[in-house]
Amino acid sequence: MLATRSTAELIGSGQEGTVMDQARAYLQRVRHGEMGALPAIGGFVVLSIMFAILSPFFLTERNFANLLTQAATLVMLGMALVFVILLGEIDLSAGVTSGLTMCIFVVLVNVNGFNWMLALLIALLTGVAIGTFIGFFVARVGIPSFVVTLGLFLGFQGLELIIIGSGGLYRVQTPEILSIMNANMPVWAGWAMLAVILAVSLGTSLWDRARRTRAGVPNRTIALVWIKLGVILVIGGVVVALLSNDRGTGFKPVSGVPIVVPITLAILWAGTFVLDRTKFGRYIYAVGGNAEAARRAGVKVVLIRWTAFIVCSTLAVISGLFSISKVGSVDAAAGRDIVLSGVAAAVVGGVSLFGGRGRLLHAAIGALVIAVITNGLGLLNLPAGVNYVVTGAVLILAATVDAVSRVRAGGSLTRR
């Protein structure tokens, strides 16, 4: 026997060391290219500074609240798409899925007089059915998802036309739906939300540590937990405080965190939980990284792919809900144009289109980057043509920040 136990003990778990050690290790990982959403956050900051210089209205509480609600639809769609993009697949029909299900919802409520909650349930189930349909063809039959979902992209436009019919345009008359984007929580509820976030974060951290201790493996120094909570407290505190100021313009006092924010955060949290801590989530990454390896490891690859499409379509329904809440109406073209932006949100945030790499939070941040482009340009009053050009240019620029920082950091030429 040549191996000596002493040297073998060297295998660590990356959790050892002081705060400084951990910080150094993190910095080195970043310098080595593992930067997650950092470039997107950088892009967001740069764009914000740019727009703050160009328009005095950009850095107002009011516009900050605008940004959150404007981004929400795209954030939700981006998160929906992450589930399939992680598999290296795509869902071009996610946008029209949100549109079609909202057509169904509004017709059920307005024309057929359904209770809105029942109608919403039906819309969500339709989303599930659509995901099941896509999943069947992609995961079982083996058709490239690009083609299946392009087919549905066309087909659903037709269904929207057939459903919406000669009315052309329906008002959303459910106050509960309208309030998602247009109403705010009371100020105290905003602070309560922050408290819940802090408590959940602390709780999971301590619980994880307890389990690790029980298993006898090292824990990160507890200081990191406090630092993390501190960061949440400061950023969250600033956001809630800003949104607690009156941002109305004299006609009506407006303050509080928009209702869409806690909904989005809850889904983000739940989705992240599933992706990080459950078999389904782990297998999504595994299949996206190497489907054959996952299959050989006994992962039900077909089932995972299938389920991911169901999750995507279902979350797309919620993004549709956000959209009609904001617009207040539904027409036969609902959701036609948004899907490419949703994919772009994920990609800009650092999710790899080749699968296996990325997180929900990345898509959310990417969506914020894209939303801030529209938001900022909206304050500048540019002609339509120029607006298109600038949007495109800024999008490429934002992606360049990402790419350049990764390459600088020693990422190699190939992107896989």
Binding site: S55, F57, T60, R62, N63, N66, Q70, T73, N110, V111, G113, Q157, L161, G165, S166, G167, G168, L169, Y170, R171, Q173, L178, M181, N182, A183, G248, T249, G250, F251, K252, V254, S323, K326, V327, G328, S329, D331, A332, A333, A334, D337, I338, T374, N375, L377, G378, L379, L380, N381, L382, P383, A384, G385, N387, Y388
Partner: protein, 335 residues
């Protein structure tokens, strides 16, 4: 007509009427509005058949290539007149081809470069009515149009009609001194329109006195943003859609421009029948490029007139008077 070139081919389908007794119609698509298949087709068909002519009506279904293909087929069967609704410019070369064979071309609802006649709901007039509703709305609130803060929310600038709506509205509004305080990029999309308007409003510090909006879809998004901010100002629109009419009844939208399609179809078929009969109808109006132009008048529908739309069958009380609108229906006698 120059149908003489038939050549010795002598096609055997003697049952078909002479080429110059056929009216060829191409409708653009069914996606932009349900009117084409639902209203224009039956109205035109009936008018031509009643006048003793054969109608060949086809729909290009939103495909410029198909548009050209249909035209080729119709032209080779022979046409006495062509009634074309343009789709993304596809009608231009068709019109040129038809004129090359001496066939008169009527541009229906949308202008076509090189057409002999243009019959339309005057899109500029639609714009003017929208502009007028804004001006009236401002006056009703006792605001001076010249100092009022007005936001312009137009349609997709790649669409020729959007420009006409804009120009018409602008004529009326600028006449009383209105200048756009903000004019975000035009779109035909409720979601983007809502975002664009929200940002324009923010850039105006939350102050707005009126919003010119090109259609009901965009208006719905604008109204939601206004509601959210506790604002209620004059808002225009067109299409007399369900949501638009409801917003009008609720007082959230000042008025919507209503285009009763049978009027337009009548005007076009009357003109076409005259052409088929070999007459050369004269028309009093002309477009900038000199094309004779029959304008069909659109109607501005405020809350009082919603019942007229219902009476004309373009909407039903059942679909309008749901939820919170029911009370308004009662007030304005919609039933």
């Amino acid at each position: 007509g120059c149908s003489s070139s038939g050549g010795g081919g002598g096609s055997s389908d003697t049952a078909s009427p002479a080429a110059d007794s056929r009216a060829c119609v191409i409708l653009p698509d069914a996606a932009s509005s349900p009117r084409w298949e639902g209203m224009d087709r039956p109205a035109l068909e009936k008018a031509f058949t009643d006048a003793g002519f054969e109608a060949d009506i086809q729909n290009a279904q939103g495909d410029t290539s198909k548009y050209a293909t249909i035209a080729d087929q119709q032209l080779s069967k022979g046409c006495g007149v062509m009634v074309l609704v343009d789709y993304n410019g596809a009608a231009v070369s068709v019109a040129a081809k038809a004129k090359g064979e001496g066939i008169p071309v009527i541009a229906y609802d949308r202008p076509i470069e090189g057409a002999d006649y243009y019959v339309s709901f005057d899109n500029e007039k639609v714009g003017e009515l929208e502009g007028q509703s804004i001006v009236d709305g401002l006056k009703a609130e006792g605001k001076d149009p010249a100092t009022a803060v007005v936001v312009y929310m137009g349609g997709d600038p790649a669409d020729g009609n959007a420009k006409m709506f804009h120009d018409g509205a602008d004529t009326v509004m600028s006449a009383v001194g209105i200048k756009p305080a903000q004019e975000p990029p035009g779109v035909w999309d409720g979601d983007k329109s809502a975002t664009n308007f929200e940002q324009a409003l923010t850039a105006l510090g939350g102050k707005v006195d009126a919003v010119w909006v090109a259609n009901d879809t965009n208006a719905a998004g604008v109204i939601t943003i206004l509601d959210k901010n506790g604002l209620k100002v004059p808002v225009s629109g067109q299409d007399a859609s369900v949501a638009g009419l409801q917003n009008v009844l609720l007082g959230k939208q000042t008025a919507t421009v209503w285009k009763h399609v049978p009027d337009e179809a009548d005007a076009a078929s009357t003109l076409a029948v005259a052409l088929l009969n070999g007459e050369t109808p004269t028309v009093d109006k002309t477009l900038d490029d000199g094309t004779p132009y029959i304008a069909v008048t659109p109607v501005l529908v405020g809350p009082d007139m919603v019942k007229d739309v219902v009476a004309a069958g373009d909407a039903t009380a059942a679909e309008l008077c749901t939820g919170e609108v029911a009370a308004a229906c009662a007030t304005y006698g919609v039933e």
